[in-house]
Subunit: 312 residues, 4 copies
């Protein structure tokens, strides 16, 4: 497929359903993928943080991506995360993703190691040099522990190294400055800016992002599609109301007790528990060493789904 | 004056003009205050981070606040920062601010020391117990190094300890959750939420904040007032255009060379240099040990003012 | 008194005993001071972090310092913390401390605000210019959120701005590099390096620090004096054994439940509870909004004192 | 070989020499390994942070480890880093390392993802369950962004999950508490504590660590072996003098300009440049996207080697 320039719309970062023994549950993943496609999403992002890419070895990463690509069957573009510590390792994941049929690569700056903006730029150039696919930078300081600044990203966009940015920094001010500077640099129509801030999608669309990558979109894709449509049509009051409903639903990501589990267990466990309660996936299992939600937390998730009108 | 509930509108955090020898320049501060009042601002916030409160000893803090209160002359409410490390010290500043005629107190969580949410809540209760004035919590993790969470703030709002929140966290997602939870708690009309994120005011107003506290409002109050009016009238495209213009102007906060000065020197120096170039204040001087902008940076500020149509 | 150059030995950072209503308990503070003097300490550090300086307003800070100075009566030098956000505020505290009879000033880099090494250096120069007293830099990144580097500290030592350093960074590697570079710069005998890392005093003395500022020295001054004497005499096995005993005793700083209180409440509450159980001070009260130790924690402290042979 | 319990002595974390095209230079790696063996090191740690494990894909990791194992030929134990984000990925590296003939596995807590102590403990248990080899926990907060606490590590040691700890936290106080608590738990002779704090080895040996893993030991193994021998013989003055000499030499890790490169480029580039100047390895090349030292920096390294008596 020809990759959309810019990429717009709702592009959920797919969860990766697992069996109780920790294997990729390809049946459930295909079902989840079809559910999102049928809802009308504009793209799919596999092997992102929501997809537990950090927890999966290379083989199940490939299995997951192949399942998504096969199920998508060219209806929408599939972006693939190539999440690893440094350049050479990311390049291997990117090559593997291309072989699996992905339409674009998403990569973070180096992590684990102490790096410099010059090195970060070189990192993205080397990744791009190793693949035919468009490359998106993934700004997620909560995981990478550095922030991708506009001063690094925009020159890479101008020179054609980067096709887009997935901004999961939650830093609305920095995102706005980047959007304004991108337009000044003539990038408005050729550099795709996607927000991962699923709680402020209305504001980010107002600010000019092209699309949204909402983890919660696994659970309620129709909500995000309505929100997106309202925003694009300038129905801002309706967009806000839809976003507010989704904000309330987002409480399922901290249904788990934070004194008993980490943020990943609670967040991804919340998504998967919801998908399981909705009958989309067979098991709410998350990858080890994440802790499963207890029955109290599961009941909280159920109540939130009912409150959002997703479960009766 | 009767304090507005909720407090809405544009409430700039006043810069504190200084003489070249470091004293409060009361003439310039009165001129700045009048300029903002004449532009139509809805309130004034003295002795905040933009007011260099952290750099001022108690006596000049009082001088600055008295100047603002006298100049405001009851036309709009004056909020006063009571910025200090812990409870007893903040209580003293709050008492002093009340004596100077402030209409409300703004205080952060404790800093310098290692604290706990239970202690943060007690801190605000003790400050409130020591003053007749409404109390606003000031969430500014860049300075305080902890984030005020909704789980701390909202119970304090419900019980009447806090009258409002100034959110300078830049965390749009957390702010949105707080707004939704505040409404669910019946606080919508009695707990004032003000955003300090001056680059995403359109989005934050869309999300439901009551008002905005923009440092850049010292330089371009009319811009923020237009932005606010557009947003309140639902003219979102116009609001966005105005915000984008202000985002471009905001580059004056990093006109200074970051290898030569800290973020405060660059940011506050940028505001003061602009006010000096605009003829509002007599000197761009910032408090020691901040570094002044060099001539290259001053020229950059001038160009930005020209680009924004504020200087010809 | 003539200030020792370099300052060597054990210099405890005095706790500030408070009455149950939060006033400085001067009787208890004098008793604590005498106890340390009688044990043979080489200096006293008032109004440091262990002294709850961050929690005290200016008047009780003065009361506390005057009590210590009067009680010390020139037997040992008294260093006074001048803990505040920025230069002008620190200068006021330094002047007040000099008026109270302190023998040296201890100040951190600016905090709350975003600063730069050039500004930090200027900060110390301005503090020094405002006082006759020797000036010590206080490196405590846990509170200040930046680290004082050797590249900032050593030039200030060479030029005479700084008389010494209190290193509470806990970064043994950086401290060692500073010590080696200080000697290379000819500072060995005129720049006093004091460690605040009370759990690794043997190693830090081995590395070449001149003295130690142990919070736990409030509770067990004799232990730290033995440790110091062993180290100075090259009895390293005995020094290690003494340090190990003190390390076990240090568990009184986390006797409090960390899910119920902050680190300051637990640490300072542990010291004060121990001093109260030992009969040195009248009340274990810490300044608001700190949380008191509960009875379980108090019993833990008692057991630790018994285990260390301080209570029977 | 039977793995020593406890593991004591000097265990350098091997650099991984690369060709100019980025392949593992097995000839140079074997030469480096032989040099360390001939100097008398007590063990070797391959694929650690100093070995650029974060930069190497799986195949060159295996090549490097095989080269070290083959060259060591059973003369000393070879520890292998299994550095990756989460459990399943680490388990694969551990299995691969075992197949390559490693004698022990070294693994960090999960990173990239947000985790909880319960999950960290489960992580180590699952790694241990997947390998016959002894497992060392690797505490390196600069890379992992969380600290391994004694409360997590010691129960894992008691139950037999962990055989040891490599502490690169630089937190001497926490290390000391762990050592004291380990002895109290009866672990003194069966849980190996190795310090990675190469600048405070004398103090850490005094404190009771079993061994040291100094990156600088690649460059000057004889220095660390003398330091270790002095410490074990109680010749503390000589140990300190040797450590001080090594501290001065350590300046080669920041010979590179920090405004032009990250800490990894400077540190690992410094080690490799030194090894190249000493004629041990064929190229100072570090893995992409690290920046090479420029000629000024190389000259600085040369001077430091001359100053340390390693080059004439």
């Amino acid at each position: 497929m020809r990759f959309p320039v810019p990429l717009t719309g709702v592009v959920p970062p797919l969860c990766t359903p697992l069996t109780p023994t920790g294997d990729v549950d390809t049946r459930s993943l295909a079902a989840l993928t079809r559910r999102l496609l049928d809802a009308g999403v504009h793209g799919l992002f596999a092997l992102g943080s929501s997809g537990e890419a950090a927890y999966l070895t290379d083989a199940p990463r490939r299995t997951a991506l192949e399942t998504v690509v096969t199920t998508a069957a060219g209806r929408v573009p599939v972006l693939a995360g190539a999440i690893d510590m440094t350049t050479a390792r990311v390049r291997e994941h990117a090559a593997s993703a291309a072989a699996c049929g992905a339409d674009a690569i998403v990569a973070t700056a180096p992590f684990y190691t102490r790096t410099h903006p010059v090195e970060v730029a070189d990192h993205f150039r080397r990744i791009r040099a190793g693949t035919e696919l468009p490359l998106f930078a993934y700004d997620i300081p909560a995981s990478v522990h550095t922030k991708l600044t506009a001063s690094v990203v925009l020159p890479l966009a101008v020179e054609g190294t980067l096709a887009g940015l997935k901004d999961s920094s939650g830093d609305a001010g920095a995102l706005r400055r980047l959007l304004v500077e991108a337009r000044e640099a003539g990038l408005a129509e050729r550099f795709s800016v996607l927000t991962g801030s699923e709680l402020a999608v209305d504001g980010d669309l107002l600010a000019g992002v092209h699309g949204v990558v909402p983890g919660l979109g696994n659970v309620d894709p129709a909500g995000y599609l309505r929100l997106y449509a309202h925003a694009r049509a300038g129905r801002w009051a309706e967009a806000v109301a839809e976003q507010d409903r989704l904000v309330a639903l987002f409480a399922l990501t901290d249904a788990g007790d934070p004194t008993l589990m980490g943020g990943s267990s609670a967040g991804l466990g919340g998504f998967k528990t919801a998908l399981h309660l909705l009958g989309v996936i067979d098991s709410p299992h998350t990858a080890a060493p994440q802790v499963p939600l207890d029955t109290t937390a599961v009941e909280r998730v159920r109540k939130l789904l009912e409150g959002a009108g997703l479960l009766s």
